[in-house]
């Protein structure tokens, strides 16, 4: 059903989504009604209880069809709703998760700031306690779903003397709160249909009840969420790479040069073989890691690998597919060109691949008693 929906409803619209820079809200609501958004979550919050494996299948299929839509949903479910699911109080979960799962509301995850990208601990957005509410002041940058979100999970500094580690707290902020404003969507190379923007907080009052997790432990919640998010991002890149291989296999049969289908050229065959090999390695890594998550086993190192291998595999595979398509590969009339532009950000967002290497190396060395600093 998921594959069918993606092929029939998402893929045919993907070009238009790229051109206009927006996904139709009704389509997102429809996906919510079909239950796509609750896949990883418990049934008592309106979820499907299909765990990380189920969620990875969703992201893989979505990204095959429309990377912009997959990114909207990845931010909405994979990190925004996930942070709430992981560490939110029962009351907060009951209040927000059913609407997020049903697509009645869209979520965003606010971590990055102008001066805090890879150095996420460098955040400066302040939250000061005033009677029964926190007052938030500052900015978030490059926030996926910023312009369309109803609910934003925001990391803010509650104790500057401690900084991010022990002095940062996570808040659930409703977008209609006075003082909250999302900027215009940024102009980007790809993922045009996934709006990214600045978020401005000007004395935004958030009730104490909307503290997600414990005061001072927000950084832990955010990092934990990103760890899980890397697995499903790996799954999404797997879908993008598979799509590139499928498109290439169709083209090499159809295109003839030098009197025969280019499928008979070894330069082409070897590119196909490398793509398929990398894709199978990625598939094994992603689903093994998702299994680790679902079985309560350590997965941080493997999650970093999913994101690192996945984003680079997708970029390489789509680049090879573009080469196989020759000049048609760079034409905006064809999906491949869009896929090529869309894929590149996966090597950067949700922790650059350099940060993933630091995470992986950190885990390897930590197992041997060495603590590293970025």
């Amino acid at each position: 059903m998921l594959r069918e929906f993606c092929e029939q409803e998402l893929k045919p619209r993907a070009k238009e989504v790229d051109r206009t820079g927006r996904q139709v809200p009704a389509l997102l609501r429809w996906m919510g009604e079909l239950g796509f958004f609750g896949i990883p979550f418990d049934q008592k919050y309106g979820g499907a209880g299909a765990g990380e494996v189920g969620y990875c299948i969703l992201m893989q299929e979505l990204n095959r069809a429309c990377p912009s839509t997959a990114t909207i949903i990845g931010a909405h479910i994979g990190i925004a709703a996930m942070s709430l699911y992981l560490d939110g109080s029962e009351a907060l979960k009951q209040k927000y998760l059913p609407d997020l799962c049903a697509g009645r509301t869209i979520g965003a995850f606010g971590l990055t700031e102008p001066n805090a990208g890879s150095d996420a601990a460098g955040i400066q957005l302040r939250a000061t306690l005033e009677a029964d509410a926190y007052c938030l002041n500052g900015q978030k940058l490059w926030i996926t779903n910023g312009p369309i979100a109803d609910v934003v999970m925001v990391l803010a500094v509650t104790d500057p003397s401690l900084g991010a580690r022990g002095g940062a707290t996570c808040f659930v902020v409703e977008a209609n709160t006075p003082g909250f404003a999302a900027g215009q969507p940024e102009r980007k190379m790809g993922l045009h249909g996934s709006p990214t923007s600045l978020l401005n907080f000007d004395a935004v009052r958030v009730p104490k009840a909307n503290v997600l997790g414990e005061v001072g432990l927000g950084f832990v919640t955010f990092m934990k969420t990103l760890d899980i998010g890397r697995v499903s991002l790996g799954a999404a890149t797997l879908g993008g790479a598979e799509e590139a291989l499928e498109a290439s296999l169709r083209w090499v049969k159809a295109r003839s040069q030098f009197g025969r289908a280019i499928a008979h050229m070894q330069s082409v065959q070897f590119m196909l073989a490398d793509m398929a090999t990398e894709i199978e390695a990625l598939r094994a890594l992603v689903y093994r890691t998702a299994w680790l998550v679902d079985n309560g086993q350590p997965f941080v190192k493997e999650a970093g690998m999913c994101k690192l291998l996945g984003s680079e595999t997708a970029s390489r595979c789509i680049d090879r597919a573009l080469q196989i398509h020759g000049a048609l590969g760079i034409s905006r009339e064809f999906a491949l060109e869009r896929g090529w532009r869309d894929a590149r950000i996966a090597e950067i967002f949700e922790g650059t691949n350099e940060i993933q290497r630091i995470v992986i190396a950190g885990e390897l060395l930590h197992e041997r008693g060495v603590r590293i600093r970025p």
Binding site: N115, W142, E186, M189, F258, Q323, R344, F349, E354
Partner: protein, 386 residues
Amino acid sequence: MDFALSDEQKMCTAVFRDFAEKEVAPTAEHTDQEETPPTALLAKAAAQGFLGATVPEQYGGAGMDYFTYILLVEQLAKHCLSTATTIGIHTMLSAMTIVDGGSQAVKQNYLPRLAAGELGTFALSEPEAGSDPGALQTRAVRVHDHYRLDGVKAWVSNAGPAGVHVVVALTDPRARHHGLSAFVVDAQTPGIFLGQREPTLGLRGMDLRTVYFEDCRVPAENLLGEVNHGWALVQRAFQRVRLSLAAAGLGAAEGALALGVRFATERRQFGVPIAQKQAIQNYVADCAVEIEALRHLVHYTAWQADQGQDYEASASMAKYLGARVARDTANKMLQVHGGYGFSDEYAISRIYRDVRALRLLGGTDEIQRFAVARDLFEPEGLALQP
């Protein structure tokens, strides 16, 4: 043996750099957004003699040698690859093919116009003939004192604004690419129809179109070289444009590296400029090493061309390496930019899109490698088939 540039070459480089920084750099983003050739900029380039760079002075050109020409392309490409390739195709493919094969009258008629700023094309590729010249189908049939052209040419650069087309067509279809002839055709000639501007990933400032020839009548004296000997003209045109594209790759890579170095100097994370991180240092160092290797190959190839030596293999190697180095450098420097690299507000994302076309344009990576391999096996008595 002397690796230093001559005083004259240094002086030319300074002039080219000055033009590129003052005129090309400020227009590059606009050219990309408007998706149209930078008309005003090209007029200024023509006034400097750059559109007739290698055209002999007697035909209104600047009479540069190839070495000086690649110094020009390198400087242009540092700031705008669209401009560098538009001028490269105009000069190396269009104007120089006329220099190579045109009669005295044809040269006197067309070259001053091209040098003065009318753009030229080189209409060779067809929908069914990209890498394979043997699959070309456009026909040229002699009828009394003219040739009648019929066929479809794909991916013709500079097609929209062009004043002059160089068209390659079959005069002897049975001989396949050994039955090709080249013609110079006024863009105003009846029977030429332009397709829509092809929307592309990068090089958006280059006007790429399909061009249709239907009963297009070209005077017989517009034949370039001898009838059925067009393939030799095409091969020499390929060598020239590959050298030019290699220099464009060099310039684009240098431009990308400069942006990455500046960003890594200014961007602070973890309390230091990110240039202090070894991962960043390694990216920058790897790119610099590849750029220097490329520079020497490009210079050597241009020197061979100026010496009148056979530079076909060098041109293929340089073009292949140039496309790869430009791509790797743009890719790594985009990574250095982090999220900013994905933003249209930063030039690195444009360069990253632009350089991708270098691996396809003027012969794909696969065709260049085939050409290099073919030359290696030829002395062994083995003729490689593509």
